[in-house]
């Protein structure tokens, strides 16, 4: 089959990639069909992969996150409780004046993750330290909230997995953890009820 060299030949349209082949003729219709088919198959393959990957993301029942309300009236000064929010432990600690003073005495500039106790608690509720009970190193639950657990060298929390030490404001002071224990979004609904989330 001789290739007719003419721009008016419909078989030579639409122009595709590449240089002239076969005796000066442009890309043939076959080239276009081939590239179009393979491209479309590629797009289809990507479109198929998306749901196969996306199904592993959190499903609707996991994302349906409820806020929780916690009654803190029974927590005496110096005590702490653990509760669960989003399948993670929450530490609610009623600090003693001594613990507050210890936390305030630390120069902020010396901290790995600088923050004051006031920044980590709510206005007028400085004795209520509410944090996630998840060590910022690799996610273990630090000791110190439960009755009789070691509070570590700084009187706050001690993570048994790799020895991270947190102080009475739950700030990282020693060990491999990079950050202070995270403070979740919460608000006081009343003097004795906290809503987390």
């Amino acid at each position: 089959m001789a290739i007719t060299h003419t721009a008016d030949d419909p078989n030579q349209r639409p122009p595709v990639i590449g240089e002239a082949k076969e005796g000066g003729a442009g890309p043939r219709r076959r080239d276009f069909l081939n590239i179009a088919a393979v491209s479309f198959a590629g797009i289809g393959a990507v479109a198929v992969v998306i749901p196969l990957v996306n199904q592993m993301n959190p499903s609707a029942d996991v994302l349906a996150l409820a806020a929780i309300e916690v009654d803190i009236s029974a927590i005496a000064s110096g005590q702490a409780i653990k509760t669960i929010w989003r399948k993670q432990p929450i530490f609610i600690r009623n600090l003693t004046p001594k613990e507050i003073a210890e936390a305030d005495a630390v120069p902020v500039s010396s901290l790995r993750d600088p923050a004051t106790l006031a920044q980590r608690t709510k206005e007028g509720h400085k004795n209520w330290l509410i944090t996630l009970g998840v060590c910022t190193h690799l996610g273990c639950v630090p000791l110190g909230a439960g009755e009789g657990e070691t509070k570590g060298e700084f009187g706050g929390y001690f993570c048994p997995c790799h020895g991270s030490q947190y102080d009475t404001a739950a700030r990282i002071r020693k060990g491999p953890a990079p950050k202070n224990l995270q403070v979740p979004d919460y608000s006081f609904k009343s003097p004795t009820v906290v809503q987390i989330g």
């Binding site: 088919a37 198959a41 749901p51 196969l52 996306n54 199904q55 592993m56 993301n57 499903s59 609707a60 029942d61 996991v62």
Partner: protein
């Protein structure tokens, strides 16, 4: 691989040379689906269905593994976990419907694949091993499909498990202990569901392994073709790639379009509504039927209603149903005609199409209510099914006068009229 004129794999780059001299995997692929595998040039679209069956298995394995990430194999949680997949998992509805309809499409392409083999004599020497491995795959497919259907723990799941494990209780002496062993109890329950989940995960990989043997066995003699005439030289073949990769790619596009239409627009058309009712061990649904792809065999099972020759009807039905599949193992030795393709076997061609109609009738009877005339029709259809293989085909082999075969694949493709009409083994132009 199969023909001396197959192109040889020549690694060009230093890296491919390095790999090829240590692990010749690219060479294997090249010889399996590349230019190293010459294929008859005259294959029609019925030769697409092997690849389509492989694609269907791949779809089932991928969607199945994904579903298993969310499914819980507990009698109290299975049904709800499937509903959770439908409602909560990202695109879970699509993945479940793809798996459900994928099973049906798997059987559709495999049934076409099997009847293709029956029509063109693809089970005959030297391809008996390909056929035998294919029947093994078919049995594994049915076991896998059944166990998967049990997992949602709906009404059809439960009673399907009850009935199909009940087959084994028909076996004399060891039947009841075997039945109890399969169930892990006295009725389908947690133990049954748990083991079916485990086996439903395992068997597809066993199928994949047997498919490797199936393809390996096929590549020794090479593919059959619509004339049934052996490949005689390089002019009769084309390399698998690009010719049949392109043709299979086109067929795959058509297959995926039909699959998408069913999955997105009629996802429950091939399912049974009763399986949206949670399993109730105290109540069998009034109209219980198996999935559509089991119906012909179910009809054969139902056909045996009287005790005969000191053997109870229950055992007859089970033996006949399994026998209907086991019979296929013997087909290469029941059909002794040296002519492969039904295109040159006028009597066999008629018998083949009657068998197709017979299997469709069996399918209809399988889902019909067991009352007259359905029972009688089913009994005749089941009888004919066995007669076809055991009586009719051997008799045809005695009396049939085959049409003259083309001298070669190429001549049949090029429609050389004189050559086509020439008797087998006599050159063109030697008119008689």
């Amino acid at each position: 691989m199969s023909f001396p004129w197959a192109e040889h794999y020549e690694p060009k780059h230093a890296l491919t040379k390095w790999i090829d001299s240590r692990l010749p995997l690219p060479r294997l692929v090249y010889n399996a689906v590349g230019a190293g595998y010459p294929v008859p040039r005259n294959l029609n679209y019925f030769w697409n269905f092997g690849v389509l069956a492989g694609v269907a298995l791949t779809i089932q394995i991928i969607t199945g593994i994904v579903l298993a990430m969310h499914y819980v194999a507990g009698t109290d949680q299975a049904f709800n976990s499937v509903e959770g997949i439908m409602r909560d998992v990202n695109q879970g509805w699509m993945l479940r419907y793809a798996h459900m309809n994928g099973a049906s499409f798997f059987f559709i392409v495999v049934y076409i694949h099997i009847f293709r083999g029956l029509f063109y004599g693809s089970y005959k020497a030297p391809r008996e091993m390909v056929w035998l491995l294919g029947v093994v795959i078919f049995l594994l497919m049915m076991a896998t499909g059944f166990m998967g259907y049990v997992l949602p723990w709906g009404q059809m799941s439960f009673w399907g498990a009850q009935v199909i494990t009940g087959f084994f209780s028909a076996i004399p002496v060891i039947g009841d202990p075997l039945h109890t062993w399969l169930l892990g109890g006295f009725a389908p329950d947690q133990a049954t569901l748990n083991r079916f989940f485990s086996l439903h995960y395992l068997l597809p990989f066993v199928i994949a392994g047997v498919i490797v043997l199936h393809i390996w066995a096929l590549h020794i003699p090479g593919s059959n073709n619509p004339t049934g005439v052996e490949v005689k030289g390089p002019q009769d073949t084309v390399p698998f790639h690009p010719y049949y990769t392109a043709k299979d790619g086109f067929g795959l596009g058509v297959f995926l379009i039909l699959f998408a239409i069913m999955t997105f627009f009629y996802p429950n058309a091939m399912g049974h509504p009763d399986n949206y009712i949670p399993a109730n061990p105290l109540s069998t649904p009034a109209h219980i039927v198996p999935e559509w792809y089991f119906l012909p065999f179910y009809a054969i099972l139902k056909s045996f209603t009287v005790n005969w020759l000191w053997v109870p009807a229950k055992l007859w039905g089970v033996v006949a149903m399994f026998g209907a599949i086991a019979l296929l193992f013997f087909l290469p030795w029941l059909d002794k005609s040296p002519i492969r393709s039904a295109n040159y076997r006028p009597m066999y061609k008629i018998a083949f199409w009657i068998l197709v109609v017979d299997v469709v009738i069996l399918g209809y009877v399988g889902q019909a209510e067991p009352k007259e005339p359905n029972v009688r029709i089913g009994q005749f259809a089941a009888m004919y099914y066995f007669a076809h293989f055991l009586i009719i085909v051997p008799i045809i082999n005695m009396f049939e006068v085959p049409k003259p075969l083309p001298n070669s694949i190429t001549e049949s493709v090029l429609h050389g009229e004189a050559a086509e009409a020439a008797p087998y083994g006599v050159g063109a132009g030697a008119a008689h």
